[in-house]
Symmetry: C2
Subunit: 192 residues, 2 copies
């Protein structure tokens, strides 16, 4: 309701502080990460008053023949290089919403651990967002298909073509986080 | 049966190659790691013909108030320092055997991921062993209590007192791995 009453770009009323605090300034660089052992997606955007600006995206591919420890090292190494090149101050990571079994959750956790070490050692503040919430923010529908997310990310960032699925999810995480900045939201992204 | 026929220190018969291959030489340095977000245990031993020799052990404590990303960074930082000081070539990590729920498995996975990045970047080969198998090897009983493991680790390594539980588990992992070297075992530790 409050959402509907405010225009999308109207500044929040001065009498109320936004519930979302401790956020980066308007021109912050955000790194979105969608962790997975064989295909971790990452995306970097800059938040501006005129709208978000694309900086980088990619997918860390680890062939099925690689040992798990080698994959995790590759994930951390690539993310370190991205952080060094783009200098983000905030990392937004996807939270787990579903796992087929404990083994899947464990492996997903390992990939997350590798990502978190790489970004934490560079001093980034880390927040997590559930995929459903990201889809809701970007596509307007919590159960949106991957393609719909990729197309909307392409449109929002003015890209020539839709990014690969995992990178699109990562960019969507950063976009969803940026979108919630300064807004009145019921639940703030969880800092981890 | 084969186990019973051979004396514990008798060399394996020359006609058969041990099923456990790709292992370090007799004087290798092994790092055992028992990962957990708030209390990762580690232990370093040197394998010798005269029996294993203790080199180091400890627990990475992360207070409950710390962000998860901070804990993971602390785990990776401490393990890096241990690896640099002790120069192990093999890491033996505990595999998950039980988790209360997906969230527990995910957090355990994150701690494992932080450990694996730290040891993989130093070039260590990583193996995993199930806790049950470690207890069987060290205490002779797969469902042994933590205290029994700590006491047996103390005895085997000639320590003045039993190590703290998590560090004792880590030392037990390294000891169990060392014990299987050159033996005929039905299943080799899984390289990850």
């Amino acid at each position: 309701m409050q959402q509907r009453l405010r225009g999308p770009r109207r500044a929040p009323a001065a009498v109320l502080e936004p519930t979302v605090t401790g956020r980066p300034s308007a021109a912050a660089v955000l790194l979105g990460v969608d962790p997975s052992l064989r295909g971790t997606g990452y995306g970097v955007i800059q938040t501006n008053r005129g709208g978000p600006r694309w900086l980088a995206h990619g997918v860390v591919r680890c062939p099925a023949g690689w040992d798990r420890s080698r994959c995790l090292l590759e994930i951390a190494t690539v993310l370190r290089a991205v952080v060094q090149a783009q200098r983000p101050t905030v990392c937004v990571i996807e939270s787990l919403f579903y796992a087929q079994n404990y083994q899947t959750a464990l492996i997903m956790g390992e990939a997350r651990g590798a990502c978190l070490v790489a970004v934490a050692e560079a001093g980034l503040t880390v927040y997590e967002l559930a995929p459903r919430r990201v889809k809701q923010a970007i596509v307007g529908y919590g159960a949106a298909q991957k393609e719909a997310v990729a197309r909307m990310v392409q449109r929002r960032l003015g890209l020539a073509e839709p990014p690969p699925g995992d990178a699109a999810d990562a960019l969507a995480l950063a976009l969803a986080y940026a979108q919630e900045q300064g807004r009145y939201v019921l639940s703030v992204p969880k800092r981890i």
